[in-house]
Amino acid sequence: MKSEMNSLHRHHIMLAGVKGTKYIIGALRFVFLVGMSFVMLYPVLFMLSSGFKSLDDIYNPTVIWIPKQFSLMPLKLAADVMDYKNGVIKTLMMTVPSVILQLISVLLAGYGFARFKFKGRKILFGLLVFTIIVPVQSYAIPLYVNFTRFDYFGLGTVVGWITGKALTTNLINTNSVFYLQAILGAGIRSGLYIFILRQFFRNMPVELEEAAMIDGCGHLMTFIRIMLPNATSMLATVGVFSVVWYWNDYFLSSLFYRTTFPISVNLTTLRSLLTTSNMVTGINAQDLMFLREPILACGCLITVMPLILLYLLAQRFFTEGVERSGIVG
């Protein structure tokens, strides 16, 4: 009896110990995460802090982080110089269809690589990895030239043999340059997404597929009805990556567009304007000297802000999606 009491007592003490360490670990984790969050939020805090300073605040040495006289002038100037409204419209026109088309092609290819055995699969996969390695800069010039006389995948040239005049179209300065590459798995970072999704689909249990096949689903139907609903978490992740990389793209946009540019190109224009010239409409040269940093900070802020808002909106959707997709496992 006594020994039983003793062991029970010991058990309680042990439990309390476990609980105690659990709290300590929780607290440590919290402190660590707060520190990490500071590291990750730092640029945004920096933009917010320096973007809304008035001229007086800049002259005032006691103002370090929080402006005393809140000013919207840098924001307005940045938005004007960057032609913000048109830039955002252009960016949306480029980004939204490209992302949708890219997701389609990338999902198909990822599934194909993961679930089917066919001749040449290994070599093609090596090719896929090679497309991830080689940056687009190293073949951008021929790519550009080919788009100035796009021959519809050789069809135009064939037409040329018959009629004597090759059928080509100059696609530069049209959105279709981006759409075409996106639907054909050559969009921005498509290779990476295919790799991610291939790994993901390979890890899906065979039973799911077999059950669908027994129910009479074809390969395409199995893919759409069974695999896709179970892939929401990865699909959301890849989708958000895709939006971010299209939105932030600078190199390809400045290469393929000629008249109106997406917002990130306008941001570089803003920077070079601020560093090379003293002439910006709406502000005199002397004030501009001191407001350079706030204006640039605002430019960065309004460029990334839509992405941050989008992520905050989408986040709820895809953490829910993750928790619901518990069928697999």
Partner: protein, 301 residues
């Protein structure tokens, strides 16, 4: 018996045809928007290119550019060695760090949604033009930023000042600055990896853990027997992505060399260096893939 075999082979043929159909859009795009431009660009690398009055003249030069890379260019081989060295020490840190972070915010605790949102910020900011601007801005505004710190993405402005005011010797200050700078750097390079691993960790069904709990498994065992095998496919992506990312980073010596030659108008040499470098990277990535893919667990096998 014969009939059965025949049937089986047609099923396999059908499957293989479906496989091709699924990857067909990607294949067309890769031939048309990658292989063809790449070959056109590789043509530069085997020739002497002169541009006169806007007309490009190629003169076949054979392997001249390649021989130059390995025998005369004193920057290439040391640059390559340095890139490989960087990969060797950076990639393990980045992979372990991002895995650690993903596991840390996996479980439910107050403020988890906030931290998850914040952890996506490096992806949004580090992939755009904004990072270049902020980098120069932050460095300009932090007066104490030493020469060494300029290599890092962000410096902690007040930190160096603080340690100096405490009267610590300079080497302590420098060490502390380089550690914090390195920490910032690693964090900012792990954004994509963290998000990927978080998605993979979240995709593990809770029922696997419940079953393990019933069997009386410890946290440690659950980590090794459930979490690691289940996320190993994504872990392989993260590993390979980190390697490629480190090799093709803009701060990389060879990448800088390529763009420098390109900027000076030596297209042929720039593409030749690029070709050699990317093939080396491909071979190394392939080797890593071979070594680690045996350890990856797939539910399909």
């Amino acid at each position: 018996m014969k009939n059965k075999l025949l049937k089986r082979s047609t099923i396999e043929k059908k499957r293989s045809r479906w496989g091709w159909l699924f990857i067909l859009p990607w294949f067309i795009g890769t031939v048309y928007f990658f292989i063809i431009p790449m070959l056109q660009s590789a043509r530069y690398a085997f020739s002497d290119v002169t541009i006169r009055n806007g007309i490009v003249n190629y003169k076949f030069a054979g392997l001249e550019n390649y021989i130059y890379i390995f025998t005369k260019d004193s920057n290439f081989l040391p640059g390559l060695a340095e890139s490989i060295g960087n990969v060797l020490y950076q990639v393990p840190i980045i992979v372990i760090f991002s895995l650690f972070m993903a596991l840390l915010i996996k479980s439910k605790f107050p403020g988890r949604t906030f931290f998850r949102a914040v952890f996506f910020f490096p992806v949004i900011i580090a992939s755009g033009v904004a990072i270049n601007i902020l980098q120069t801005q932050v460095l300009m505004s932090s007066d104490a930023a030493g020469v060494q710190q300029q290599a890092y993405m962000f410096s902690v402005p007040s930190f160096t000042v603080l340690t100096e005011q405490l009267g610590l010797p300079t080497f302590v200050t420098e060490l502390a600055a380089s550690i914090t700078g390195g920490f910032f750097n690693i964090t900012w390079k792990s954004g994509v990896q963290m998000v990927l691993l978080l998605a993979a960790v979240n995709h593990i069904s809770p029922s696997s853990y419940e079953a393990a709990d019933i069997e009386g498994a410890s946290q440690w065992e659950k980590l090794w027997k459930i979490t690691f095998p289940m996320i190993s496919p994504t872990l392989l992506v993260v590993l390979i992505y980190s390697i490629i990312d480190s090799f093709t980073d803009y701060g990389n010596k060879i990448m800088q060399m390529i763009s420098e030659h390109f900027g000076k108008g030596y297209y042929e040499y720039s593409t030749a260096v690029g070709l050699v470098y990317f093939i080396v990277v491909l071979v190394l990535t392939g080797a890593v893939n071979l070594i680690f893919s045996k350890k990856v667990y797939y539910a399909t096998q």
